[in-house]
Subunit: 336 residues, 2 copies
DNA sequence: CTGAAAGCGCTTACAG
DNA sequence: CTGAAAGCGCTTACAG
């Protein structure tokens, strides 16, 4: 009596066959309205709950999408994952999520677990390192897999990649600073040698070269702590620097704090630009100019793309870069 | 040929029965080492992937835990969900997650979907309103369910509740401000009438009463925007206020920005305290004093508790409040 | 230590 | 419009 009622219990109580009950589940028009209502009443009475796993076993669809994220505590990734999850939910898919904390071994493990659970597709913002241990099993399982935000496995034919147009973001940020009269623009944060750092820097470097200005890269972790330390150090190490583009908003917000700590104003004497445009940017003082990536829209777009692949077999293009724009605010404008 | 190999394929290729293969999956000691190795080699050759859903159908365990969160974009909840997910993963469970955006209808829907997917238990930080539509189906499905961070359904016997000790947090914050000489302490943010607001306020109110100081509640949304607006308004509306305890860190960080915008220093003339101690608190300037809830440890503890319930039938106590402490920083100390 | 059979709760053709 | 039968990929007693 403590076991959950099954389709057989419903069929018996409703006086029909279990095939009929199954057709009711699927809202088949082949079932007479009275029959359907009778069955539904019985289901409610019995407290019947549909066992989707049993159904999937036969029909081979699970309705579960795996989402794997390198750093879910970072608001940029959290916003992406949340937008993706909500869009998937709206299309009737549940989301299995895992944070990998930039650990390739953990990533391989959670991906293996997702495959066993029968996810129908995977969206992954991968960590760097040991990509085969994650991507090869996904490939063997014949799952649609999209790499997002970071291109770690170069096989974009198998694992199509999409991200905001970081290169363009760096470019418009640098152009804005140059147009504002900045002479010595630093690029702050981002691990040296990583693809995402190079992309975010490339537009900056190209713009400076065109304008004949000297580049300066201060690499480091993409955190507030690094931004703050850099700001505190800047007056001593690089006194001539009069503007900075940061690897991400966390670094920029950290720099903002460091400048405040020194009592050094940001905006006119020193122009600061972040990257990603997370929610905080508009709510700090001075408000932070940032490269807006519309990460909520990006997440919804990824949901669309992976479901089109899964449901209709539409393979995404190997590499897509979505548009970005510069959100101008006080930190680069000298408003006070 | 495009279908995934099954246990039968493995058995045939290895020249054993499928029962034997099943025992290999389960690492049964009953299988001879050579047989096991032979089977494992065949599995690797065939690219076999275990179908956990099929297995669960028979054994009735799914290894999936549902996590439902009212606002996943809020770093406090994101940190909680991430810590919980990682702890569950370590114990061999996958996490199905959903953000409800404070929408009771959406919450009822995602919970229904999770039940159908056969989650073994649910951890929910619920939204306010229409609690029956969410909790009754969970109860009917006979699932272990824990309410965390917010007590929305009063049936804590069925849905045990746990949260950091908000009351104590408000108390130690208020005591610290009083001891520092503050005379007019406001409580800022939090929707009026909500349980969580009342709890976070209650320690503040009790302390002020004991000390004979006048309370002042400025209710509003738990956002940076509200904090900033309140700070900008404060000098005009409530010029005598010389300290504030905020509903959460976002409100406090917003106030910090509002004060910066006015060029009004925080720390000595105005003492400010946040709630939750999210990561940002230590990285802004002045650094924000906050009620530390150890939300990462809290998430790990919840994982522990729900799994003890699920695996060993240990019903959690109806209501648990975990310890908090005050993290003293510049915003309430007058350091410059 | 291994095999043959039944069963988990559904869906899917196929009859009627 | 509805029913009887087979099957999805595993696990679970039960023999041997």
């Amino acid at each position: 009596m403590s076991r959950r009622p099954t389709i057989v219990d419903v069929a018996r109580a409703a006086g029909v066959s279990k095939s009929t009950v199954s057709l009711v589940f699927q809202k088949s028009p082949a079932v007479k309205a009275e029959t359907r209502q009778a069955v539904q009443r019985v289901m409610a009475d019995l407290g019947y709950v549909y066992n989707r796993n049993a159904a999937n076993l036969r029909s081979n669809r699970v309705g579960l999408i795996g989402v794997v994220i390198n750093d879910l505590r970072n608001p940029f990734f959290a916003e992406f994952a949340t937008s993706l999850q909500m869009a998937l939910s709206q299309r009737g898919y549940a989301t299995v999520i895992a944070n990998t904390d930039e650990d390739p071994m953990l990533q391989a493990q959670v991906v293996g677990s997702m495959i066993e659970h029968g996810v129908s597709a995977v969206v992954i913002s991968p960590t760097y390192g040991a990509e085969e241990t994650t991507f090869d099993p996904l490939h063997r399982a014949r799952l649609p897999v999209m790499q997002v935000l970071r291109k770690v496995d170069p096989r974009v034919g198998l694992f199509p990649f999409t991200a905001p147009d970081y290169r363009r973001g760096g470019e418009i940020a640098a152009q804005h600073l140059v147009a504002s009269g900045a002479q010595n623009i630093a690029f702050v944060g981002g691990q040296e040698g990583r693809a995402v750092t190079q992309e975010r820097m490339s537009g900056y470097l190209a713009t400076l070269q065109v304008c004949g200005l000297p580049p300066l890269a201060l690499h480091g972790r993409p955190t507030r702590a690094f931004g703050r330390a850099t700001a505190l150090d800047l007056a001593r190490s690089h006194p001539h620097v009069d503007a900075a583009i940061c690897f991400n908003d966390l670094v920029a917000l950290g720099m903002l704090a460091g400048f405040a700590e020194q009592g050094r104003p940001v905006g006119r004497d020193f122009r600061l630009i972040g990257f990603d445009d997370i929610e905080d940017c508009a709510q700090v003082y001075p408000a932070l100019t940032s490269v807006h990536c519309d990460i909520a829209g990006f997440g919804a777009g990824v949901a669309q793309t992976i479901l089109a692949w899964l449901e209709d077999g539409i393979l995404p293009p190997p590499e897509v870069h979505t548009p970005v724009r510069l959100m101008l605010r006080g930190s680069s404008l000298g408003a006070s």
